[in-house]
């Protein structure tokens, strides 16, 4: 279906942070999933306790990539974390 309306893209500022609740909602995952990703070092939120956690905007994409890799390729969390790091390194190298 074609939609010819023009949408205004709102810039997501780097300084923008999202809470645990927002991140779970955004990715439709349970808080336990996020807690596991934090424990694995895949996400590094600011704040000491889960209630105070603040996630960088790029966290959404990281969560989804990890979930997809786990679900589709049968890798465990550590494997998905490694793949994610390598994917980001490749993207970085390509930019240079």
């Amino acid at each position: 279906m074609t939609n010819e309306q023009t949408f205004d893209g709102m810039l997501v500022e780097d300084a923008e942070f999202i809470t645990l609740t927002q991140l779970c909602r955004s990715c439709t995952v349970e808080t336990e999933t996020i807690t596991l990703l934090v424990a694995e070092g895949i996400l590094e939120p600011l704040g000491r306790s889960a209630e105070q956690w603040q996630f960088a905007v790029g966290s959404r994409r990281r969560v989804k990539t990890v979930i997809h890799l786990q679900r589709d390729l049968g890798v465990n969390l550590a494997g998905a974390a490694l793949a994610l790091d390598l994917l980001e390194q490749i993207a970085e190298l390509k930019r240079l």
Binding site: F7, M10, E13, G58, H68, L69, D72
Partner: protein, 316 residues
């Protein structure tokens, strides 16, 4: 609807063992996974693999599929035989979030829509905001300097009339804000997955990436440009016109500029909130010594200038 040859899709024989099927799927899934693969049709391929695997990894479904017989060809027009599946009982076991919604009509005619997580979403009075979606968009560096509108094409879930979610290709025209940097995201409110039970739709996030550019290189909001100079321009100084993404600039080259020297044009990088700088990196191009006149000039420099480019290397 088209018949699907699941064995062919996974590249295994019809009598492959369950282990062989698993191995074939894993290998191809790694190759075509949309988060990993750079193949152009990865998403489509990956979807087919998922469907083939869903059937063949499950011995019940595989047996049912095998019962169709071996005479079918891929893409052949297919109708399920009368009384199909009456003797089978399928134990759902969805692949994960999306369930079977993305699978082909062929799959659905054989195994139904059942098994997806969708059912649980339709509880009475249960309201939930839709999922956010992500996509990557390639733009030109110039688009960030000037702002631009881009048409992007996405596979997006949509709510059908009967309350099912199915993916459809959608084209959206998006205004890209000026000053955006590589890796930054823009949000389109309400353009993600539909909500359930009257909940709000999710948002769509677009991550910006620049097309590789032959002349400019981008680091954060700074832009680098290599400027070739003739040896005498670099040695004697010169005024040159430089084409930057923001237009032409008159640039004064100081005398005795060395190759690799960076000239900073403040604020002429990406016009972000804190604008980046444009760095002009000097390169020196040597005129080729391919005629008598050029050779004579190089020979004169060799004889009359006392210049040792390797002075620091302590080699005679």
């Amino acid at each position: 609807m088209e018949y699907k040859d699941y064995y062919k899709i996974l590249g295994v024989a019809r009598d492959a063992t369950q282990d062989e099927i698993k191995r074939a799927y894993r290998k191809l899934a790694r190759k075509y996974h949309p988060d990993v693969s750079k193949e152009a049709d990865a998403e489509q391929k990956f979807k087919q693999l998922g469907e083939a695997n869903e059937v063949l990894k499950d011995t019940e479904k595989r047996a049912a599929y095998d019962q169709l017989g071996v005479d079918w060809q891929a893409q052949q027009d297919f109708r399920p035989p009368p009384g199909w599946a009456s003797g089978f009982e399928f134990h759902g076991g969805p692949r994960g979030a999306g369930g079977n919604e993305d699978f082909s009509d062929f799959f659905k005619s054989l195994f139904g829509r059942a098994g997806g997580a969708a059912g649980s979403h339709h509880r009475q009075g249960f309201q939930m905001q839709g999922e956010d979606h992500h996509a990557r968009v390639l733009i030109d560096l110039e688009d960030s300097y000037n702002g631009a509108s881009r048409s992007i094409s996405l596979q997006m879930p949509e709510l059908t009339r009967d309350g099912h979610v199915k993916t459809a290709r959608r084209t959206l025209k998006v205004r890209i804000p000026k000053g955006i940097r590589q890796g930054q995201q823009i949000r389109l409110s309400g353009q993600g997955s539909p909500g359930t039970g009257g909940g709000k739709a999710g948002d769509l996030y677009l991550e910006i990436e620049f097309n590789p550019h032959g002349i400019y290189r981008v680091e954060g909001s700074d832009v680098y440009l290599e400027l070739p100079l003739a040896p005498w321009e670099a040695a004697l100084g010169a005024a040159v016109k430089v084409l930057t993404p923001a237009g032409t600039v008159d640039l004064k080259i100081p005398a005795n500029s060395k190759a690799g020297k960076k000239l900073r044009l403040k604020g002429r990088g990406i016009p972000a909130k804190t604008p980046g700088d444009l760095y002009v990196v000097i390169q020196i191009s040597l005129p080729p010594a391919d005629d008598e006149k050029a050779r004579a000039m190089y020979e004169r420099m060799r004889d009359e200038l006392s210049f040792n480019p390797r002075a620091k290397m302590e080699v005679a």
